[in-house]
C-alpha cells in the first residue's frame, strides 16, 4: 500500500498565525480518516490547507510521493475533490449541471461534456442513488439531497482523495448513514482515500479506519478508533463536564441525576433497566440499581447514571455481600421498581430481593413511572 498523503511537521493557520502546529500524519491509500474535535478547533483549517485553499505556515505536505505545492491546480484537480461546508449559491442549475462540473478537469477548452462525460455523470448519480434528481433545480432539493449531489460531483471528478468538511452537519440520521456508507464503500472498492471532519463522534468511531483528534495545539491524537476512543480522552477533547461519552457504544450521555442518596432502587438486568435509567435522568431523580453483572447492557448506562450500582462478575452467582447491600438500599429507598428482568440460574437470588421489597410494601412495576409523573404535576 504505502503512504498516500503525508503531513510532515505541518503547521496550519490563517495569515501566518498558526492554529495547529507540528502535525504529523501519514495516510494510506484507501483509508477513511475522520477528523474530530470541538468547534473552532481547526479541523477545517487542516482540510483547507490540504486542499491548498489556505497557505500552509510551515512543514510539508506530500501527496502521492510528490510535494503538494509542486502540483499545478489542474493536475491536483484530477487527484483531489472537495466537499465544503459552505452552502453553494447557484441559479438555474439542475443537479445534472452541478455533477457535470466535476468533469471539469477532463473536458476540452470550452468545457463541453462528451457523451462519455455524461455517462460518468449518470454513473455518479447512480452511485449516490440520485438519478431521479438529475433534472431538478439544485436550489429546490433538500439538504440531504444536496449533499448527495455534491458527493456525486466529487465522484465525477474521479479523484484519488476526497476531502469533506463536516458533510453530515445538516442531515438527518438516515441521510448521515447513507452518505457515510457510500463513502466507505468507495474507499473499499475504488481505493479512494477519504478525509472527513465529523461532528458526530459516534459515527466517526464506526466509519473511520483511523481518527485524528484536533484541539488547540496540545491534544493531538492519531490512531485507530479503539485507541482514540477512551472516555477520558474524549472528555478532554471536548471538555465535557456535564455528561459522559461511552466509548463502547460511541454514545453521548448527559449528566447523572443530582444527589448522593438514591430515592428509587431499580431491579434491572438484560437491558430492562435502560428506559427507566433514562427516565430518572430526565427527571433528575437519584437512583440505585442492581444486581447487575458487569457484562450486562444495563450496567453500561447504570454506571454513568446511578448513585450506586451493585455488581457481580459475569457468569458467577450473586454473593451474600451484594445481596446484603441491595437489601440495605431497598430499605432506605422510597420505592423499588422491578424493571422486569428475567431470572435464571445465576441471578436467582434476585427473587429474594423482590420478595423482600414486596414484604416492605415498596415493590412496583415500571408503570409506576407514569403515576410518579402525574404526582409531580
Amino acid at each position: 500500500m504505502g503512504t498516500y498523503l503525508q503531513l510532515d511537521h505541518l503547521s496550519v493557520g490563517y495569515n501566518t498565525v498558526p492554529v495547529i502546529e507540528d502535525i504529523n500524519l501519514d495516510i494510506q491509500k484507501g483509508e477513511v480518516i475522520a477528523l474530530i474535535g470541538p468547534n473552532g478547533a481547526g479541523k477545517s483549517t487542516i482540510l483547507k490547507t490540504i486542499a491548498r485553499d489556505l497557505v500552509k505556515i510551515s512543514g510539508d505536505i506530500e501527496l502521492d510521493t510528490k510535494n503538494l505545492l509542486s502540483y499545478s491546480f489542474k493536475d491536483l484537480s484530477r487527484k483531489m475533490a472537495v466537499i465544503l461546508t459552505e452552502r453553494i449559491k447557484v441559479e438555474l442549475m439542475t443537479c445534472r449541471d452541478i455533477v457535470g462540473t466535476g468533469r471539469y478537469p477532463y473536458t476540452g477548452r470550452l468545457g463541453i461534456l462528451s457523451r462519455e462525460d455524461e455517462q460518468k455523470v449518470y454513473e455518479a448519480l447512480e452511485t449516490v442513488h440520485a438519478v431521479d434528481l438529475a433534472d431538478r433545480d439544485f436550489n429546490a432539493i433538500s439538504d440531504g439531497q444536496k449533499q448527495r449531489i455534491l458527493l456525486a460531483r466529487a465522484i465525477c471528478q474521479e479523484p484519488e482523495l476526497i476531502l469533506l468538511d463536516e458533510p453530515t452537519s445538516f442531515l438527518d440520521v438516515r441521510h448521515k448513514l447513507e452518505l457515510l456508507s457510500i463513502l466507505t464503500r468507495m474507499a473499499r472498492k475504488k481505493g479512494i482515500t477519504v478525509i472527513t471532519s465529523l461532528h458526530e463522534i459516534d459515527l466517526a468511531e464506526k466509519v473511520a479506519d483511523r481518527i485524528v483528534t484536533v484541539k488547540g495545539k496540545d491534544v493531538f491524537g492519531f490512531g485507530k478508533p479503539e485507541d482514540i476512543f477512551e472516555e477520558e480522552r474524549i472528555r478532554n477533547l471536548y471538555e465535557i463536564d456535564n455528561g459522559f461519552f461511552d466509548p463502547m457504544f460511541g454514545s453521548i450521555e448527559l449528566q447523572k441525576p443530582q444527589g448522593d442518596v438514591p430515592r428509587i432502587f431499580v431491579l434491572a438486568g438484560n437491558g430492562s433497566g435502560i428506559p427507566l435509567f433514562r427516565a430518572f435522568q430526565r427527571k433528575n431523580i437519584p437512583f440505585a440499581t442492581g444486581i447487575l453483572f458487569t457484562n450486562d447492557v444495563d450496567y453500561q448506562l447504570a454506571r454513568l447514571f446511578a448513585t450506586e450500582v451493585i455488581t457481580e462478575e459475569p457468569f458467577s452467582e450473586i454473593g451474600d455481600a451484594s445481596l446484603t447491600r441491595a437489601k440495605e438500599l431497598i430499605a432506605s429507598c422510597e420505592k423499588v421498581i422491578d424493571a422486569g428482568c428475567s431470572i435464571g440460574v445465576s441471578n436467582q437470588r434476585m427473587q429474594e430481593l423482590k420478595d423482600y421489597a414486596e414484604s416492605e410494601g415498596k415493590l412496583f412495576g415500571p408503570e409506576i413511572l407514569s403515576e410518579m409523573e402525574a404526582e409531580e404535576r
Partner: protein
C-alpha cells in the same frame, strides 16, 4: 432492469431537449435582431419604405439624401447600439459572476460613472492641446476610470460579503465620480465640451463608421476572450473554493474577469456614455429564457440579447417623441428598472 433502462434513456434524452430550447431562443433572438435592424432603418424623421431600403442596399439606387441617412446616420448608429448593447450586457453578466450577486452591473457599481469621469477629463484636457481625440484614447481613459471604480468597490466589499454593502459602495462611488465630472465640466471652456453634453447622459447618436470600426475591434476581441472564459466561469459559479479544486487558478481568473468586464463597460462608456440597467436586466432575461446559467450558452445569448434590447431602446429613444430625442438611459431605465424590482421580489420569495 427495464425500469433502469428507461430511466437511463430519459436521462440522456434531456440533453437533446435542452439543446432544442437553446436553439429556439437563439433563432428568436436572431430573428428579432434582423427585424429591428430593418425597423430601425425604416423609421425616423424621414420614413424610408422597406422596398426602398432594399434597393438602396443592393442596387445603390435612391436619392442622395436617403442614401446618406441610411449609410451615414442610421446604419452606424444601429450597429453601434448593437455592439455596445451586447458589450454592456456581457459586462453585467461577468460582474454578477464575479460578485456572486445578480444585482451587480457596471452602472450600479459606479463603473460607468468612473469611466465617464476619466473620459470627460481626457476629452477636456486633450481637446485643449490637440483639438482632436482618438476613439482609442477615450477607450483607454474609460478603462482606467472603470478599473479605478471597481478597485474602490473591491476595497469596500471584499471584506463584507454583503449585497447591500456592495451596492452602497458602488452607488457612492458613482456619485463621487459624477460630482467630479460635473465640476470639471462646469469650469471647462464651452468649445471643449460641445460633444460632452449629449454623451454624458448616454446616447447612441452621432456615431460614424470609424467609431463602429474601433468598437467592433475592441468588443470583438474581448468577446472572443470572454467566450473562452466560459469554462472557468462555469466552475466559478459554484464558488471560489470549488473552482480552485477543479483546477482554476483563482487569482489569475479573477483579474481576467475584472479586466474583461471593465473593457466592455469602458468601451460602452467611451462611445455612448453611461447607460443604466442593461447590464442587470438583459442577463437575467436571457438566463430565464434559456432556463440555464451555463456560460457557454449564456455568453453569446446575452450579447445577442443586449444588442436587441439596446436597439429597441434606441429606436424608442429616437422616434417616440420625434424631433426631441430621449437619453438612452431614460428608455433603458423604463424597461430595466421594473425587471430589477421583479428580480428582488423573486429572490425574497425564494428565501
Amino acid at each position: 432492469m427495464n425500469h433502469n433502462e428507461t430511466g437511463k434513456a430519459e436521462f440522456f434524452s434531456v440533453t437533446a431537449r435542452r439543446r432544442a430550447r437553446y436553439t429556439l431562443v437563439f433563432v428568436l433572438l436572431i430573428a428579432a435582431f434582423f427585424a429591428i435592424i430593418v425597423l430601425n432603418i425604416n423609421t425616423g424623421n424621414v420614413h424610408i419604405s422597406i422596398p426602398k431600403i432594399l434597393r438602396i442596399f443592393f442596387l445603390r439606387d435612391g436619392t442622395a439624401t436617403e442614401i446618406n441617412i441610411i449609410w451615414k446616420i442610421r446604419l452606424p448608429r444601429i450597429i453601434m447600439s448593437a455592439i455596445l448593447g451586447g458589450a454592456l450586457s456581457l459586462s453585467g453578466f461577468l460582474l454578477q459572476t464575479f460578485f456572486e450577486n445578480p444585482i451587480a452591473g457596471p452602472f450600479v457599481l459606479g463603473i460607468s460613472s468612473g469611466a465617464k469621469m476619466t473620459v470627460a477629463l481626457a476629452m477636456i484636457f486633450l481637446m485643449q492641446r490637440f483639438k482632436i481625440v482618438s476613439s482609442y484614447v477615450l477607450i483607454v481613459a474609460a478603462f482606467v476610470g472603470a478599473l479605478l471604480s471597481i478597485g474602490f468597490v473591491l476595497l469596500f466589499s471584499r471584506r463584507i460579503r454583503n449585497m447591500g454593502t456592495l451596492l452602497v459602495a458602488g452607488i457612492m462611488i458613482g456619485y463621487i465620480c459624477s460630482a467630479i465630472t460635473d465640476f470639471v465640466v462646469t469650469f471647462a471652456a464651452d468649445s471643449d465640451i460641445v460633444n460632452l453634453h449629449n454623451w454624458s447622459k448616454g446616447s447612441f447618436s452621432g456615431m460614424n463608421w470609424s467609431n463602429v470600426q474601433v468598437a467592433a475591434i475592441v468588443v470583438g476581441i474581448t468577446f472572443v476572450i470572454c467566450f473562452f472564459m466560459a469554462k472557468p466561469i462555469s466552475a466559478y459559479q459554484l464558488g471560489e473554493a470549488y473552482a480552485q479544486s477543479m483546477g482554476v487558478n483563482i487569482k489569475v481568473f479573477r483579474v481576467a474577469l475584472i479586466i474583461v468586464s471593465s473593457i466592455f463597460a469602458a468601451t460602452v462608456t467611451a462611445f455612448a456614455g453611461p447607460i443604466s440597467f442593461v447590464g442587470i436586466a438583459v442577463p437575467f432575461l436571457v438566463k430565464h429564457a434559456l432556463n440555464t446559467s451555463k456560460p457557454l450558452i449564456v455568453i453569446p445569448a446575452t450579447f445577442l440579447g443586449g444588442a436587441v434590447f439596446c436597439m429597441i431602446c434606441d429606436l424608442i429613444a429616437r422616434t417616440v417623441f420625434s424631433l426631441t430625442e430621449l437619453n438612452i438611459s431614460t428608455v433603458t431605465s423604463v424597461f430595466g428598472a421594473p425587471i430589477v424590482i421583479l428580480m428582488m421580489l423573486r429572490r425574497r420569495r425564494g428565501n
